[in-house]
């Protein structure tokens, strides 16, 4: 393999394989070695498809150059969050209640990746069913942040974000219900994109909250994220929430030019950020955008209701989750507790095999939907959701994109917020509104704290304007003055040993 071939980006791998400069087998061996080297420290993976990936690589090396198919991800290893189904492979959603569950079919996004020549490399860790912002709620142990192994990677797609940040894979898929792609991308210093609700099929995604869940990509650069998004998006008749839009290629519309674009800035998302390092990094990003010719538009006269975001979200997501999780009763999936009758079989199986946060959300969701409380909680959250949609509709009548911090804080220490779920919920405050309003949103690294922890800039666009968000994110990335590199954990460990 030529030393000149970079195996760090989706596009460079794809181009090198297509040009014959590198074999897919070499790429896969490189990635498997990177996983072996880094994952003992990070614990990003729950399952690595070592044999299958090698077989797939050999098959692609044998067949791909002859058939002439224009595969956009030829030879590119991609990791999948472990709530995305791969036929015949364990798919746990980070839960003991799905231990040993093997789906009988592929998720729609998996079929699309495979059709474009990607190599599935393994399944990444997550908070159980997506319930969390730190990946500490996985039944299979926490994932650590490659930038600081004493801190969380964010969540719930923390395994996917950490795998990309540590250079184990060039790209991964995550899922985002209230920020679960963008927040870990921010905390791990990589790019993440939550598409417009309905633009990527969720067939084969284990459901958390069906009116919010969306699959999306994570990568080191916006170009890589846009390329993977091009492959996975588009109408799927197998998902009733799928939008009637054809697959499109987001790469040709990426533009460095920010001149004249209207960029919304709101005090709730910028000036009122309590963490001074996060606020400083976002303000510097806004200056960079202004210097590049973007027109900064203050939107302080619109009430974005950010203070109500967490309440509205959890009063919608928890009831939907409690309903979706009712299927895990010991009869259809996974392990079953011994009990003398059917009702106790349900209760004990769920009590024994669901995790702490899952139980908390089931209780919260069931309570909010129960007689006497529905109108006070769920119905009001639905009203508030409509207000969020209206407020963000107003925003996008005035600007092309809205920018702010992705997360109010950088990566926090492992265990710091485990006993305070309400504090943990607050970390989603900036990402939730785009989820409630079903908007496309990206997180792009915009700086670091003095301790080297990454900070992300969130870029939100109008519904269906995914191309505009990705193009703007690309434009900012070209202007921001630094390139994201994967964390070299071997060098980092040596440094720590010497210290």
């Amino acid at each position: 393999m030529s030393d000149a071939v970079s195996l760090r980006s989706v596009t460079s791998i794809r181009d090198a394989v297509k040009d014959g400069r590198v074999k897919v087998v070499e790429v896969v061996d490189h990635v498997l070695a990177a996983i072996r080297g880094a994952d003992s420290q990070v614990h990003a993976f729950l399952d690595v498809f070592e044999d299958e990936a090698r077989e797939r690589a050999e098959e692609l090396d044998r067949t791909s150059r002859d058939d002439g198919a224009p595969r956009r991800l030829l030879g590119v290893p991609i990791a999948l969050k472990d709530n995305i189904c791969v036929s015949g492979r364990p798919t746990t959603a980070g839960s003991r209640v799905l231990k040993d569950y093997r789906p009988p079919y592929n998720a729609h996004v998996v079929d699309r990746l495979v059709a474009e020549g990607a190599v599935l490399i393994g399944k990444t860790n997550l908070d159980e069913f997506g319930f969390g912002s730190s990946t500490e709620n996985s039944a299979y142990g926490a994932t650590l942040n490659p930038h600081d192994l004493t801190r969380v990677p964010g969540g719930s797609s923390g395994g996917s974000a950490a795998a990309v940040a540590a250079g184990m894979v060039p790209a991964a898929l995550g899922s985002d219900t209230g920020g679960s792609i963008r927040q870990p991308a921010s905390l791990c210093g990589v790019c993440g994109f939550k598409p417009t609700y309905g633009s990527v099929s969720r067939r084969g995604l284990i459901a958390f909250a069906s009116s919010l869940d969306q699959i999306g990509p994570l990568g080191l650069s916006v170009l890589d994220v846009a390329l993977v998004q091009s492959v996975i998006s588009g109408f799927d008749p197998g998902d009733p929430s799928s939008l009637s839009m054809e697959s499109r290629d987001y790469v040709p519309t990426l533009s460095k030019d920010l001149d004249g674009l209207r960029v919304g800035v709101h005090r709730e998302l910028v000036d009122e950020i309590a963490n001074t390092e996060v606020r400083g990094a976002v303000l510097r990003a806004i200056e960079t955008l202004r210097d590049a010719g973007a027109r900064i538009v203050r939107l302080d006269d619109i009430d974005l209701m950010t203070a109500h975001a967490v309440s509205a979200y959890y009063l919608i997501a928890a009831p939907e989750a409690s309903s979706n999780l009712s299927r895990y009763d010991g009869l259809r999936y996974g392990p079953r507790a011994d009990a003398p009758d059917l009702n106790q079989t349900y209760q004990r199986t769920r009590g024994d095999y669901l995790g702490d946060e899952a139980k908390r959300r089931i209780l919260l969701g069931t309570f909010a939907l129960s007689a006497g409380h529905y109108d006070d909680y769920y119905a009001k959250a639905i009203q508030m959701r409509a207000r969020f949609r209206a407020a963000y509709d107003k925003v996008f009548q005035k600007v092309d994109v809205l920018v702010g911090a992705t997360s109010p804080v950088p990566a926090f220490p492992i265990g710091e917020n485990c006993e305070d779920p309400l504090a943990m919920y607050q970390f989603d405050a900036f990402t939730i509104p785009a989820s409630l309003a079903r908007l496309p949103a990206a997180s792009v690294p915009c700086g670091t704290t003095k301790d080297g922890l990454p900070i992300g800039l969130q870029i939100v666009g109008a519904r269906g304007r995914d191309a505009a968000v990705l193009s703007f994110a690309f434009g900012y990335e070209q202007q921001r003055g630094f390139k994201v590199q994967p964390v070299d954990l071997i060098a980092k460990t040596t440094e720590m040993d010497q210290a």
């Binding site: 036929s87 040993d100 569950y101 093997r102 789906p103 009988p104 079919y105 309905g198 009116s211 109408f235 008749p237 009733p240 929430s241 799928s242 939008l243 009637s244 839009m245 203070a307 109500h308 967490v310 309440s311 959890y314 009063l315 409690s322 309903s323 009712s326 009763d329 999936y333 079953r336 009702n343 349900y346 209760q347 004990r348 769920r350 009590g351 024994d352 669901l354 702490d356 139980k359 908390r360 209780l363 919260l364 069931t366 309570f367 129960s370 109108d375 006070d376 909680y377 119905a379 009001k380 959250a381 639905i382 009203q383 508030m384 959701r385 409509a386 779920p421 309400l422 919920y425 269906g464």
Partner: protein
């Protein structure tokens, strides 16, 4: 949220909750619901004329109830029966303990 409410909710959810967890959930859920009070106060109640039903989302399809799928940018597929996988692979793969096309099921009769 008191102990009695937690027990009632857990029964509705078919969820066994240990005594130690119940005490912890009681405090945590009370704090969470306390935080939600601001949202409750910010909006009119049903008695004040707010819609009693889910005005935003149709739970059956997760689509906004106020708009048709086409208005929302979606489209429905033809409602036709399609054959299942004929080889029985789907059922076999679902079983943790399987061999060829046979799989073991838990004993349900003594």
């Amino acid at each position: 949220m008191d102990r009695q409410t937690i027990d009632h909710t857990a029964r509705l959810a078919r969820l066994a909750v240990q005594d130690a967890d119940r005490t912890r959930y009681e405090g945590q859920l009370a704090a969470i619901l306390g935080h939600f009070e601001a949202l409750r106060r910010a909006l009119p109640t049903v008695a004040d004329g707010a819609p009693a039903r889910d005005a935003e989302t149709d739970p059956a399809t997760s689509r906004p109830a106020s708009a048709s799928p086409e208005q929302e940018g979606g489209r429905t597929r033809p409602d036709v029966v399609t054959p299942d996988r004929p080889d029985g692979v789907a059922l076999v793969l679902l079983a943790a303990d399987h061999e060829d096309r046979n799989f073991r099921v838990p004993r349900v009769l003594e």
